[in-house]
């Protein structure tokens, strides 16, 4: 059986000591999970290692941690996969079979630490109430029934219920929250898991307050327009919830279906992007800001432009733009770009790919109407 070095981040708030790394050697099968490894150490050597866990099958959401830098569930991450993850990136050690350091072959190393963006209570246990659950409560996380409530069930399309199964399959593990970049900068950001939860109601035809929910989330400066599209939550999520995509759907529904022009200018900013690409083919950053505020000659844009001068100067200094490109368009969109826009905008219904159901590399030629969820 292969051997691994398991390094567990330990912290005991009562000891008065700082957090430290606790090293154990384990001999286990490659396909055993990181949780199996931790529990083996806990069972055989040290019962004081703190980690929440229960189902061991990736459904209860207890055991989210960071493993070699990446957040995820300890129970469905195989040791072998974990050992080869992220080596040589950032502070991670070189790959185990990399002998270039001259130290000889090291045991594959698996570092397990608590999730980020949440205070640590002890060892691998973080305070989810203080962050995650508070954010969930922020989005009015219950169905506000459409009236009248029918005597029997609401009659709603099967496709909608399959569609909301994606956010519904969130197990509230917090892995996405752990590494959300926006939340790192803005701790008040509602965040990926809670916004995915919000979509669960906005996508549910039985809910009566779609507009109110969307308005609230669009107007909140820490709401749907606070996400920076970093994809970390998509990578982190063990259940394919794809929180970023749920956020983007909230934006599309807010902006396009309900015409909510938020005070954060998120909606106009997004449209400015689309317009910008359609016109230039490439992102022309110096136009973006002005477009977001209604074009260069709009008084609001003037104010914003002045206030963003420092950013502009930085942009010039870093050669993201030159005085010339700031004023003129160096590039025109080639035909295929505008054709693509025409095709998509020409559809009578917006088509949303639901990767939850059709995301498998399907070799059966999928029928478009079946594999794509229509709104």
């Amino acid at each position: 059986m292969p051997e691994y070095t398991l390094r567990i981040r330990r912290f005991d708030p009562l000891s008065g000591e700082a957090a430290y790394w606790d090293e154990h050697f384990i001999e286990m099968e490659e396909h055993n999970s990181v949780l199996d490894g931790i529990l083996k150490v806990k069972d055989e050597k040290d019962g004081s290692i703190g980690i929440r866990c229960s189902c061991q099958q990736g459904i209860c959401g207890s055991c989210a941690v960071r493993i070699n830098g990446k957040p995820g569930l300890a129970c469905n991450t195989h040791l072998e996969e974990a050992a080869h993850r992220g080596h040589g990136v950032g502070w991670n050690p070189p790959a185990p079979d990399d002998t270039s350091s001259g130290e000889g072959l090291k045991l594959p190393e698996i570092m397990v630490e608590p999730m980020g963006n949440m205070p640590v209570i002890r060892d691998l246990i973080v305070d989810m109430d203080a962050v995650h659950w508070r954010k969930i409560q922020r989005v009015t996380p219950w169905l506000i029934n459409r009236e009248p409530v029918p005597e029997r069930e609401y009659i709603v399309p099967h496709a909608n219920m399959v569609d909301v199964t994606q956010p519904m399959s969130c197990i509230q593990c917090g892995a996405c929250v752990s590494d959300c970049l926006s939340m790192e900068i803005d701790p008040l950001f509602i965040g990926p898991a809670a916004l995915a939860k919000a979509y669960r109601f906005v996508g549910d035809p039985r809910d009566a307050q779609h507009r109110e929910r969307l308005f609230d989330l669009a107007e909140d400066p820490h709401g749907i327009y606070d996400c920076t599209h970093c994809f970390n939550c998509v990578d982190a999520c063990p259940k394919g919830v794809d929180p970023m995509n749920q956020i983007m759907r909230l934006r599309r529904i807010a902006g396009t279906d309900y015409d909510i022009e938020d005070r954060n200018n998120g909606y106009r900013h997004e449209h400015a992007f689309v317009k910008n690409i359609r016109r230039n083919g490439l992102l022309h950053e110096s136009d973006l800001l002005a477009d977001s505020y209604g074009g260069k000659f709009n008084p609001a844009a003037g104010r914003e432009l002045v206030s963003s001068l420092p950013t502009g100067i930085k942009g010039l200094a870093r050669r993201k733009m030159t005085p010339k490109t700031a004023l003129m368009h160096p590039h025109k969109a080639p035909k295929p770009v505008s054709q693509t826009f025409d095709r998509i905008e020409g559809r009578d219904q917006r088509v949303e790919l639901n990767l939850y159901v059709s995301g498998y590399e399907d070799d059966e030629p999928a029928d478009e109407t079946e594999s794509e969820e229509r709104r």
Binding site: D43, S48, H78, P141, M161, V164, Q172, R200, V357, E364
Partner: protein
């Protein structure tokens, strides 16, 4: 000291449903759970929930299937209530927001399940338990003004007053180790099953039979403890469950020779016979040499259209991929019978009242008994909800009629002392993990699908020895913040007590019925054994056996074929 009209221990489906019902009846409610409510093991329920909601279906048909499934050990008055109330309960869930999947017309959709004469299992893909549990939690958040939640609080003991009635519970806040006596006019146990007594099991690490042992300690009667369900399709090795929904959607069982062997054992219902029947069939195939070398047979999900599998059985696609390295949409997966559920538990009436006044029980911890000798798939979620609600309502009604009872003065210090004794232990005894492993292996060997007197006696002896060892098991953690070591020691003591009652009941019932198959008494014997085996401490230190009659209303016992 916090005090409530109704205190609920456990926040799985039964506990949360009870909490909402009690609050709605006008009671003040506290809910204690040793894990965050959405981590409760109800989250793992995959396949669905039964209800005769379709106009073509009838509650009588559902009830008959349940009675037959129980091998006539279920109490028919309770089964009648469960099946009659199922449709309303399901609609309540739907209105609360559960995203049940629909049929082509937008009405609630169904899938077929084992032992059922109609497709009456309602589902959310194969995350039904999760979807319901999370929606109930949404409701708990919605009604936060009426409900106090004690999340990550561990109940160590029930507290009994001078007149023998339950007056509260002692709980430990896992975050800081603080002990609190919570006073209550009525206590509802909803702390789930005891799967961890076995190894492997489909149950999570937290499912350690706490409530069954706690109730037994304060004198409550247990019932049907010998009835432990082995699910036909679990992964070898780790014991993870492949939902019955797979067979409901059309998957086949094949032996190593490629034969669809259920044709032999249950020519009509095939893969969808009762679980006890299918598990015995598989075990027989394996023992007679027609299984695979790893002691398994195969489940062939490729019989289900691939798109349907991806849409409706996605979770087991993930389980196959992550935990067995098999793409179930393309190849059969090896499975075998594995520990899954305990039909027995704390004996209650149809309103959840146990034999201790003021103490109620609902869900897997309880035994009403609606499952008798064998539970039908998708009847457990229904049981947790219907009897969770009924207990919540009746506990609240009791509470609203009475003043707050006083609590015995010494109870908190007794528990404090017991905990301090555990904390004083050092690293020199046996390891908790090792005792637990031996217990699980023992139960899985001798108290499983097939049992006999000799094996049971051996198991009994081992469990007794382990009980002694456990009393001095090593403790590494002496702190107060999230001390999981101390909790594990307490849970181990519960598990061993539960294991002992299972073994005693299995030794007692000298016949084969439902999940209890005695190779030394291979026939069902209605003349002598159409009765429940009850177990209680009855004031002494050792569990004692007594009997109670099975309630039969309209379905007389018949021979059972599928």
């Amino acid at each position: 000291m916090p005090a409530y009209d109704v205190l609920i221990i456990g926040a799985g489906l039964a506990g949360q449903r009870a909490a909402l019902a009690a609050a709605q009846t006008g009671a003040t409610v506290g809910v204690v759970s040793k894990v965050h409510p959405v981590r409760s093991h109800s989250v793992a329920a995959a396949g669905g929930i039964n209800a005769a909601l379709n106009p073509e279906d009838s509650w009588e048909s559902h009830a008959f299937d349940t009675v037959k499934g129980s091998d006539y050990l279920g109490d028919q008055d309770a089964i009648e209530i469960m099946c009659r109330e199922a449709p309303d309960e399901l609609l309540w869930l739907e209105h609360a927001g559960v995203t049940f999947h629909r049929d082509g017309t937008g009405h609630l959709g169904t899938r077929a399940f084992g032992g059922a004469s109609a497709a009456r299992t309602y589902y959310v893909a194969d995350i039904t338990g999760q979807a319901i549990l999370h929606v109930l939690y949404e409701q708990l958040l919605k009604h936060h003004a009426q409900l106090d939640r004690y999340e990550e609080w561990f109940t160590t003991d029930l507290v009994v007053g001078d007149e023998g009635q339950c007056v509260g519970a002692i709980c430990r806040d896992l975050r800081d180790g603080r002990l609190e006596l919570i006073n209550a006019k009525a206590v509802i146990l909803a702390s789930g099953g005891a799967g961890q007594v076995y190894r492997p099991t489909t149950n999570g690490l937290i499912v350690t039979g706490d409530g069954i042992a706690q109730a037994c300690r304060v004198g409550a009667k247990l019932m049907d403890m010998e009835m432990v369900q082995y699910h036909p399709t679990t992964l070898s090795g780790n014991g993870l469950l492949i939902t019955e929904g797979a067979r409901g959607e059309g998957a086949w069982l094949l032996n190593a020779e490629g034969d669809r062997f259920m044709e032999e054992y249950a020519p009509n219902k095939l893969e969808l016979a009762s679980r006890d029947v299918v598990s015995r069939a598989e075990q027989t195939e394996i023992m007679e040499g027609r299984g695979f070398p790893d002691g398994t047979v195969a489940l062939d999900v490729t019989k289900v259209p691939r798109r349907r599998t991806l849409e409706a059985l996605r979770e087991i696609v993930n389980i196959g991929r992550d935990f067995a390295g098999v793409d179930i949409t393309r190849e059969p997966i090896h499975i075998r019978p594995g520990n899954h559920y305990i039909m027995g538990g704390v004996k209650t009436d149809v309103d959840g009242q146990t034999t201790v006044p003021g103490l109620y029980a609902a869900g897997e911890v309880a035994c009403v008994s609606v499952h008798g000798g064998n539970r039908l798939g998708a009847n457990s979620l229904l049981d947790t909800l219907v009897f969770g609600r009924r207990s919540g309502e009746s506990a609240a009604r009791r509470a609203l009629r009475m003043p707050m009872p006083s609590t015995p003065s010494a109870c908190l210090t007794d528990t404090q002392r017991a905990l301090a004794a555990i904390l004083r232990r050092r690293g020199n005894g046996s390891r908790i993990g090792a005792i637990k492993k031996e217990l699980g292996d023992t139960m899985n060997e001798y108290v499983a699908v097939f049992r006999d007197a000799e094996g049971l006696a051996k198991a009994h002896q081992i469990v007794r020895r382990l009980k002694e060892e456990a009393a001095g098991a090593a403790i590494d953690d002496h702190g107060s913040v999230f001390n999981q070591d101390v909790i594990a020691a307490i849970e181990l003591s519960y598990m061993l007590e539960v294991a002992e009652t299972i073994v005693i009941a299995a030794e007692e019932r000298k016949e084969s019925r439902g999940a209890q198959y005695r190779t030394d008494f291979p026939e069902r014997n209605d003349a002598d054994w159409l009765k429940h085996v009850d177990i209680s401490l009855d004031g002494g230190p050792e569990p004692k056996v007594s009997y109670s009659p099975v309630t039969i209303t309209r379905w007389q016992p018949e021979e059972r074929t599928y």
